[in-house]
Symmetry: C2
């Protein structure tokens, strides 16, 4: 439904409702109705008003509309600040999907980054100036501080990430079942004939990390495989991924490695490079996130791909409901990831 673009004519100030009303010979309110409740108008009046709207290229002024309706049709999306070296390229796929999904339902996205040290940074200003209708919260695994605070301010929001520490939270959320992701990754390797499959994951206090780890353990045990000596926990960085791989390759000699992130997988690749081992031939590696890096490194890293496009759509759907009915309490939505198989396994 492309709006025809008024091409050549140069207009000093954009046309207003009053301009349209005058041209169409009706009152302002009738034009407003033509835009917002067309079924209230008689067919011929509607046509006349539409003509005038098209002729002038009229579009309602957002500020005026927001002021009156108390709705900006803007969604605030807070992203965690990028850290140099960490491959969270996943997130810009999410941003992209979300912006597109929001655009389809007439919402625009106001992107902001908060100081990672202060999970509330940025929200307050936007909220108090009523700049946005709702927020999308992304780092729920860092604790419930953000959601608790937003709730206390009566702000509307949805979260991309389950309410880890607050099982009774009422806000809508969407998350990806990455325990399941680890499970299918591990099973894929088992199918390929591996039995000594190591895990390189995050520290014990990382909720996300423990969840993914549980999927690996479950798959291993289901197939009667031992996990002893095969797990290591470290930080989410390339250097610690390399160190962990070095240690576990020396000690236990696994034939395959499942990594909690593509970043760790890249660390493993560094270890392999040094040892002159060939990825996908001498040893198999699976990562998480299906980042750019996993997609492009030869021969490609098999990776657990979160359905970010679908997550974005679900979030927008939840937002719509939430904004339509303020008391809306949705059940959380848990999506299943898929495994993208590449040369590394």
């Amino acid at each position: 439904m492309a709006v025809p673009r008024s091409g050549g004519h140069i207009s000093a100030a954009p046309p207003t409702l009053a301009d349209v009303a005058e041209l169409a010979g009706v009152s302002r309110q009738t034009v407003s109705n033509a835009v917002n409740n067309p079924d209230l108008l008689r067919a011929d009046t509607l046509a006349r008003v539409q003509d005038a709207i098209d002729k002038l290229g009229y579009q309602p002024n957002r500020a005026a509309r927001s002021l009156r309706t108390r709705a900006s049709h803007l969604i605030g999306l807070r992203m965690p600040a990028l850290q140099e070296g960490t491959a969270n390229a996943m997130m810009d796929r999410f941003v992209h999907s979300f912006v597109e999904a929001a655009a389809e339902t007439g919402y625009h996205v106001l992107l902001f980054y908060g100081d990672p040290a202060d999970p509330l940074d940025g929200y307050d200003e936007l909220l108090r100036s009523t700049a946005v209708d709702a927020f999308v919260v992304t780092d729920t695994h860092l604790g419930g501080q953000q959601t608790t605070w937003l709730q206390s301010r009566r702000a509307r929001f949805v979260s991309f990430g389950r309410p880890w520490t607050q099982p009774d939270a009422k806000h809508p959320w969407v998350d990806v079942d990455l325990a399941y992701g680890a499970e299918i990754a591990t099973e894929h390797l088992i199918e390929r004939g591996h039995s000594k499959i190591a895990w390189i994951g995050w520290h014990k206090d990382s909720l996300l990390g423990e969840e993914r780890r549980s999927g690996w353990i479950h798959a291993m045990h289901t197939h009667g495989l031992s996990t002893t000596g095969l797990a290591s926990r470290t930080e989410d960085s390339i250097s610690s991924g390399k160190a962990a791989a070095d240690a576990i390759l020396d000690e236990t000699e696994p034939t395959a490695l499942v990594c909690a992130s593509d970043t760790l997988a890249m660390g493993v690749l560094h270890s392999l490079f040094e040892r002159r081992l060939r990825l996908g031939e001498d040893i198999a590696v699976v990562g998480f996130d299906d980042s750019q890096v996993a997609q492009t490194v030869p021969p490609g890293i098999t990776s657990v791909r979160p359905p970010l496009e679908e997550a974005a759509r679900e979030l927008v759907k939840a937002l719509e409901e939430l904004l339509a009915t303020p008391s809306y309490a949705a059940p959380g939505v848990m999506l299943k990831p898929a495994l993208t198989v590449r040369g590394s396994s």
Copy 2:
């Protein structure tokens, strides 16, 4: 300058100017002045009003302010839609930098993606509804369609990318001198002792591609090196990068390769992987963009790093001037990239 966050109390509706005025015992206008022109007030009045503002946690309503001042303090940033497989991870570093730079001067960023086939998609709606004060245009190498149209609509904008096809364009722009980038990349390889240095670049009709290529040629000729048989032109994708590398490695046996993008460099890596050649030992490779991939692939790809943070700051600076003085015509700003040296060379 953190605004104290009103913690516990739950307020139904945000406080307005009138609320503050009543509490402070002054008129609405005085409160408005306290916020926007504090130096107009007597010191003690200002203090009293400030107290009231803090007590109520007042912040001006954006919609109301926008309506009156005809300024939204929002900048529309149009990004080219992501293409699967193409590593334009560079762009999210730019988005991040730009959002942060804008936030520092009180602007928020409204991110949107346009249909790549229609360079005008998305602008019109935001412009006519006066949703944003200005735009940042990013794909100027695709031709002047966007800027010409925006100019005809009297929209304010700056571009990240020089006005390639319109040398007489008047709008502010910021760009990175990537001919220089290719030059330092090539010289770096020459210093390392290479003399047969091949170029893997884009098609002839790519303005960006020809520019980068000229830097390689210039460096080669300056050092008395021949370029015949060492250049190839192809599409910006991994598979064509691999094909180009295959061809040139078979034919001319260069010892080093300069690639017009990290994506092409990844294609080269695929070729090397297949040939069991070791990156950085058997052959040297340099890429462009300093993407996540270049940073993380072992042993790291030497890459030309565009100063995106600086570009973002310059763009914001230009925007500020442009919005302050509508007739502002800035000279374009050309920034120099640096070479990040890694194991691949």
